[in-house]
Symmetry: C2
């Protein structure tokens, strides 16, 4: 892709997203719903204006989700999230278990093998935490207590989804599934968030103090990026998901910033 083509692609993406986002808002829907429609219209199912398999477009899309989850993390109050922790976790577990169970049963009733039925169930468990967060944010309800439950459940869903994905793909590859493998995946998935929040909480104040001394422009923005990107990368490296790392980074930075504000 050359730069002229890239510019045209960006014009198509921005133009369609804002046009359909505006239409969605006018009929009382969250803008993100219109943006999803915009993606269908300009993508492979519509006018083929944007090639989603292009490396650059794909990388920018992934980067967008990472930045979105980082921003959502920044807007989330860790104390409030922990306060609704049990409710959020219950929602997450039910929200994973029921779709999985029904998917599995439908597979079985249609006469598919156990392994195919398990795959059908697994595909139905995923929740898009990004879309969930954007809907709540677009509707102006992101700070409501109910939203904390939904958001917490969506993030937990994502982590549980990773575990299921690992387990199911092990089954699919014909590998024997030990309790040890499941435990390890579970431990890493949830452990990363906890370690990131605890360790990040210790490191972030030093980062913020260092930023205050910088003279270069946009220091706060770049320092935030330099905190979020490595955490997203680490999350992926240890077997969790990038968006989980980015969300944890936002959560930590917000918590530290609030603590500093209160201590003044």
């Amino acid at each position: 892709m050359d730069i002229a083509h890239f510019l045209l692609t960006l014009i198509a993406l921005f133009g369609a997203a804002k046009l359909f986002g505006e239409l969605a808002e006018r009929v009382g829907q969250p803008a993100v719903l219109g943006e999803l429609v915009a993606g269908v219209v300009v993508g492979v199912s519509g006018f083929h204006l944007v090639d989603p398999h292009d490396t650059t477009i794909h990388l920018l899309a992934e980067l967008g989700v990472i930045l979105l989850l980082f921003l959502i993390g920044l807007e989330t109050d860790l104390d409030k999230l922990l306060a609704v922790g049990v409710s959020a976790m219950s929602v997450a577990v039910v929200g994973v278990a029921l779709p999985f169970l029904f998917g599995y049963l439908v597979g079985q009733s249609l006469g598919y093998s156990s392994i195919v039925s398990i795959f059908v169930g697994a595909t139905l468990t995923a929740t898009s935490v990004g879309i969930t967060a954007r809907v709540l944010s677009d509707l102006g309800h992101i700070h409501d207590p109910e939203s904390q439950v939904i958001l917490g459940a969506a993030v937990a869903d994502d982590v549980i989804g990773l575990i299921i994905l690992t387990v199911v793909s092990s089954l699919g590859a014909g590998r024997e599934l030990s309790l040890w493998v499941i435990s390890k995946v579970t431990l890493i998935a949830f452990g990363f968030v906890i370690v990131a929040i605890v360790l990040g909480g210790y490191l972030a104040p030093y980062l913020i103090r260092a930023i205050a001394k910088l003279r270069v422009g946009k220091a706060l923005f770049f320092a935030s990026i330099m905190f979020a990107f490595p955490l997203a990368y680490l999350a992926e490296a240890v077997g969790s998901a990038m968006i989980v790392g980015a969300f944890a980074a936002g959560l930590v930075l917000a918590t530290v910033a609030v603590a500093r504000f209160r201590s003044r």
Copy 2:
């Protein structure tokens, strides 16, 4: 390049740019000077952390220059720029003619052929309008009258550079050079800026009025992008440079915004 590699590349780029930018500011230099050094350090001449030939990195770099010139255009007052037009043009012509002449003479004195000497001269004529603008901006002098002369000269240099490039590459390809070709290239290069400013000046108020009616988030930002990117694309399409189109877009939007502010 996968997303993990992309994140690491961005971390290296942002980290090095801000580190060396900060160092440059501490010794009283514009940040952009440090950022140039940072590019050498992380690039192919240094630690090979960033591959400038990667498509995505290359496209983002081009996009960055387009956005920079758009921002510089926004910060430039068209009236002030026109007021120093003759001075700026004189600076630009001398700034192109002298390097070209000396390059040519050095080539001749070293015994090279006329065509090689002309190429040597041509390579010395280019001024980076991006770097010029960032230096003035970093030093906080972008609004000084002297800066308008420097900036105007840099933009004119870029346009003259395009003409020289076309002429020299025609010579290099062994094509006969007609006065008609040179006139056409010159007309397009300068004509685009004039047409963009005049036509853009008529269209921009409608754009601004339309933005005011939008409910969707970040409407002003996206509308600006939807004005700048097509103009940059058009500039390239008619044979001028993208950065010239982006600069013209910024200039027009700024002029219209100022006019509306005054008319209240």
